[in-house]
């Protein structure tokens, strides 16, 4: 069972890293925010799975903190996101 959960954690994490490409690529600000959010959610899921696999309940506290602060940070991001004039953001 523990092995299964570990593999699941790895898979979730792998998808998250794939999602990271979107943060890196953009192009729109919204994409980066969403990808960061996915990173948060995926990280939480991976932590929970890892915690269950290794019987480390403290990891759930990390996940909890991450959930709280990720919400906080993504609100700040959505609020701060530049609303630029026509032409939008230059691709990077």
């Amino acid at each position: 069972m523990a092995e299964f959960l570990l593999v699941a954690a790895l898979l979730v994490f792998a998808t998250v890293v794939a999602g990271l490409l979107r943060v890196l690529r953009g192009p729109a600000v919204a994409d980066r925010i969403m990808a960061a959010q996915l990173l948060g959610t995926g990280g939480i899921a991976a932590l929970l799975l890892l915690g269950a696999a290794t019987a480390a309940p403290a990891l759930a506290d990390v996940a909890l903190t991450l959930a709280l602060l990720a919400a906080f940070a993504s609100v700040a991001m959505a609020r701060t996101a530049p609303r630029q004039e026509k032409g939008g953001e230059p691709r990077e």
Binding site: F4, V12, T15, G19, D31, M34, L38, A71, V75
Partner: protein
């Protein structure tokens, strides 16, 4: 009983995984920001929800289970709040697409 719980966990976690993969794929492949947003929220809500559900029998008591549910709730609420804000960024003259 324990076997049943294990099977439950495996099925739920696998289902959650599918949603995560689908969400990420959507985020990477969909052509425009609005549909990427839809894909993402699915992963957020259901992927994590299913994994939490699957881990509930292994949470070790009420406290652990409550903590798991609280995490899910937090993610739901924050994504519900951030979603519209992000969506607004993608609309109108100021956003892209």
């Amino acid at each position: 009983m324990s076997l049943l719980a294990d099977v439950f966990t495996i099925v739920a976690v696998l289902a959650g995984l599918v949603f995560f993969i689908a969400g990420t794929a959507g985020l990477l492949r969909f052509p425009d920001t609005a549909s990427r947003l839809h894909a993402l929220t699915k992963a957020d809500h259901l992927g994590l929800g299913l994994i939490v559900l699957g881990l509930l029998p292994r949470a070790g008591g009420m406290g652990g289970a409550l903590r798991l549910l609280a995490i899910w709730g937090l993610v739901l609420v924050s994504s519900a709040a951030v979603g519209p804000m992000v969506a607004r960024l993608t609309r109108g003259p100021e956003g892209r697409e």
